[in-house]
Symmetry: C2
Subunit: 617 residues, 2 copies
């Protein structure tokens, strides 16, 4: 069986048919690109991923990153692909070419990274974090800071990290205790400990640039007293030359359930009193800077959910086609009937269609989020910009939590398709599940995302942003209703959207009442139903695009003729698949979503009422 | 933090208050027992589990069973606890003392094994399989077979296995190719290969008795031509002495996602033409014999789901109480407010209550299933026996699939409570999730269970068994309705039960119509809603028992007085917890179940209609 990552046909559909990314070339910023170039770039990424990164998948899991006397060794098999990754300029695809990037639209970069990261995201984490960390310097850094760091980070010559978490300050970032003291030369002496620092130490790059959150002596408590510092592993002199070792010690790496190839480091800054950092942005405004990165990172983590799920689906589908087991249901009692491939069994088809529906919905959701990033940036008037920014801010926690939760569930279902074999290391599906399981925790646990949605996002502009989103969904519903094949689906989604609007108002009001704790006890289910409705929207949107080309391809064919054609013509099969997938989700999943909404509307108080001692003694 | 297995208080509640197992001592069979003895036995099991088995949990995962030139070495740390396990006569607790058992009621054995198996079920698999395999010999064996094997197996001196699966015959057992040829001396020569044989080879016992499914030359195709053979690793002479090595070669063990301590073996029988077996039961009736074991085994696997979930809940609860992070929601904006333990956060409470509700529902479901085993056996008239057997047969696939699916989900939620720490090997929750993940596959995948429910069980006695179950549920509803605090819950469960009855009729009829494939595409969701309703029933049953003692304990207390009392008095807190947990499940989960039922009733055909090519190219 060939190794699977993402389905290129589906990516192309989302890029060119759903979001029509080729039209972005009308903007001056992208005038040097065209569809053919986009295709070529994605193909290059796919080639590198399949040829060089995918072969590291199982091996890096087996070997893992290793720690020895303060040094971290990444799996040896990462070295060559990392070199090729850097040479191919994949580190910062959307960055300005003058800074080492490719100047690509974000959505094309997302498609490329479906392969580059999807092949082994434990590897991808090393590859892309230089860009993520650099983005903060690009937006908030001084001219000198940009000159010193950006190009090195965007080209992948130096690595990057994000250093937030401390043993006592995880979800509660404001509780951190790392301190910064201003020196006479304008630098700050940094002292403290951080944990869970992805790529915090590694032997792939000559230097590592750590954005470190710390509290300047005397600053206010909580998040309002946090500043952000650029803390290089090796000091960088003002002329760009490398100086001394900057007194950052890696004290260990975590043994984890998955992503063994990714080094998760504990770092100590300034144990000899010699760790220096440069203030990035203003004093005490570190969280603002960090949020820039975190919002990008949340979309990236959503994509981890998608990538693992897409790979698991690809493998499961391949297995279901190749594995012969059991007889067709119509021959169940005929002991001499031949075995069929398991994709013939209704329950296996159900698992596959459930996986496919979620993979494709997640793909569209994430690309939609990325399209908002782009639209915000390209907007020429403030109103337009604010509109897209509002939608993006609103959707970010939903994308992060929904796609990572469903990503894990899809990977678990993928394992189930394989039966006993899925539990063994002979197939990649068990590793995909283990690798995916961190994503609901990374970059703000999904519980934190749900609180963000309820406490901050739902009330944005007095609820107008939610209504804007509902308006966008309604556009698709109205369009779909014009098509007879989609009418019932459109009506069902509309009915769920109306319920969702009621639920949103109800939970929003409750969150501002004395019963606010009860509202927050329903925050996660609320995010979940938001995600389901957005997923259904995306699938209906896809179906409404597919009807046109499908009708053209299948013209005049009916009955057995049509059925045979759909098993032969892959274009027609793809479009038919879009309709049937939407039908499955809207008719078999959305009723469950409606039930979840009923549960939220009931706003039961048991979770809050439960005496603490009643949980167990 | 102390290691957690199952909550003894809850086990006692289920044993003595919900199912009143002490009353079983009125039967002659159990007249030598009393509640005090039961308590002592469970305490002994718990002691052995905590002192000797629990310490092997992480180590056996790290080391794993190893394979070297046909030999399997179990983790060294298993050796001492296995010896103590055998000495304590834990192998076959329910078996006749004359055969090496303790003659215990099945429910007490279940409680003991919540500890013995719950502490590390990779260990428990070695411990209990001698009994499981021996049961078939006890029921179907000849006098000589019983004499030769039973006592050795029930005392744990010899191990046992069950050898069904072949590379091309997993879910489709009938496709097996292992052959048996009758010899002149009445034995059969066995030739073939099996895979996924738990404990198929190990170095804990002097001999291993393999029940092997094979086809006698010339037997019919499929399951109707399968016979079962007793195939010892070392031949056992008719005088009980050990003979020659029986030509069974272990060719390898699986590398798995979890339960690394349990050896999952590939076995080759008769590669030198010298493997002999004894026919167990009649020729071509092997499946009937094996089903005896499989039904027991399915309950045992359901318990794996429960055990892993219970441990994960215990750990998560402990962590949520000890871990300080974030401020109380009412102080969210006060940067100087102290950190609180995370059990104060509504979303963490939601996760914990979700876990608790499922753990306790699963416990009651499984113990109820076990009570039916016992009632079937103790029944004095045929009608009574058939009634309980019917309920047990009906519930077996539900228990197996529901408890293993939910078991995995509870373990995943437990990991989430720990945040980033949960993903590391510093805490046992990630291993519990990995260990639990095989259970939805073991002993018939959950998809197979759902087919069993729909194709065989739902129609038993023309649906009467389902109606009997509904009648049992209704008894609890009627009882609960008498209690004001439970009235609304009772009504809601009744409404869900009525829906379920409609859904059952609808799917049952569809399964017998030309649309049968569509029905089977909804078989898993149907099993799932059956499980939810049974879970809600169990929790309402628990609550209806708890109201009495709670009222006594809290007499005349109200408001803040009552609240303070419930945080101090652990008995009152426990009973209050039963009410609040039932409330949570019925008000916040059952509406989702209702939505799932709507989806089933809609009987959408997308899963069946989907062209095969539309799944992807």
């Amino acid at each position: 069986m060939t190794h699977q990552i993402a389905d290129r046909r589906d990516i192309d559909f989302v890029l060119y048919e759903q979001f029509r990314i080729q039209e972005i070339c009308q903007y001056e910023k992208y005038e040097d690109f065209n569809k053919k170039m986009f295709d070529m770039i994605i193909s290059e990424a796919r080639k590198l991923a399949i040829k060089e990164i995918l072969p590291t998948f199982a091996e890096s899991d087996k070997i893992g990153a290793t720690f020895d006397k303060g040094k971290v060794h990444v799996p040896e098999c990462f070295k060559k692909p990392y070199k090729l990754f850097v040479e191919g300029e994949w580190t910062a695809m959307t960055a300005d070419p003058e800074l080492g990037g490719q100047g690509l639209p974000a959505m094309i970069a997302t498609a490329a990274s479906e392969y580059l990261s999807g092949a082994n995201y434990a590897f991808g984490l090393y590859g892309f974090e230089g860009h993520a960390a650099g983005r903060m310097i690009e937006v908030f850094g001084t001219k000198l800071q940009k000159e010193l760091f950006l190009k090195k980070m965007y080209t992948g010559e130096w690595g990057g990290t994000m250093d937030l978490t401390e043993p006592g300050a995880g979800s509660d970032v404001g509780a951190l205790t790392t301190t910064a003291v201003k020196n006479d030369d304008g630098t700050y002496s940094i002292t403290g400990n951080k944990i869970f620092i992805t790529s915090g130490e590694q032997d792939l790059t000559d230097n590592i640039i750590h954005p470190v959150l710390a509290r300047i002596e005397g600053a206010p408590a909580g998040t309002k007293g946090i500043s952000l510092f650029i803390v290089p592993k090796i000091w960088v002199n003002e002329d760009g030359s490398l100086g001394d070792d900057n007194d950052i010690v890696c004290t260990g790496i975590e043994e984890k359930m998955g992503i063994h190839g990714s080094a998760t480091c504990a770092l100590t800054y300034g144990s000899k009193g010699k760790c220096r950092g440069l203030l990035l942005g203003e004093e005490n405004k570190g969280m603002k800077v960090m949020f820039q990165m975190m919002n990008d990172a949340r979309l990236m983590v959503a994509a981890i959910g998608l990538n693992c799920a897409a790979a698991s689906y690809g493998h499961s589908l391949g297995y279901a086609r190749e594995r012969f087991q059991g007889r067709a249901l119509e021959n169940a009692l005929d002991q001499n009937a031949p075995q069929v491939n398991i994709i013939k069994h209704p329950d296996v088809r159900r698992m596959l269609l459930w996986m496919k529906a979620h993979v494709e919905a997640m793909r569209s959701m994430i690309y939609y989020g990325i399209s908002l990033v782009e639209k915000e940036e390209l907007a020429t008037d403030e109103k337009d910009r604010a509109y897209h920014k509002g939608l993006l801010d609103f959707l970010t926690p939903i994308l992060k939590a929904y796609c990572t939760d469903r990503g894990v569930e899809v990977c678990s279902e993928g394992l189930q398709v394989f039966g006993g074999y899925g539990y063994t290391k002979d197939f990649p599906v068990e590793q995909l599940l283990r690798d995916a399981r961190i994503a609901p925790i990374y970059e703000g646990t999904n519980g934190i995302q749900a609180m963000d949605l309820l406490a901050r996002k739902l009330g944005m502009k007095k609820g107008q942003v939610f209504m804007d989103l509902a308006g966008e969904i309604t556009k698709t519903i109205n369009q779909a209703r014009e098509v007879p094949a989609l009418g019932e689906m459109a009506n069902n989604l509309e009915s769920s959207l109306n319920r969702l609007t009621e639920v949103a108002q109800h939970i929003g009001l409750t969150a501002m009442s004395e019963k606010f704790k009860i509202a927050f006890a329903h925050a996660c289910p609320f995010l979940d139903v938001m995600g389901d409705v957005v997923a259904a929207w995306m699938l209906l949107w896809r179906a409404s695009i597919a009807v046109g080309p499908l009708a053209k391809l299948t013209k005049e064919k009916t009955g057995a003729d049509l059925a045979a054609f759909l098993e032969k013509n892959k274009h027609a099969a793809f479009y038919q698949g879009q309709l049937t997938t939407a039908q499955y989700f809207i008719q078999s999943i959305l009723p469950v979503t409606n039930g979840k909404m009923d549960a939220i509307k009931a706003m039961d108080s048991a979770v809050v009422d439960m005496p603490e001692l009643s949980f167990g003694t």
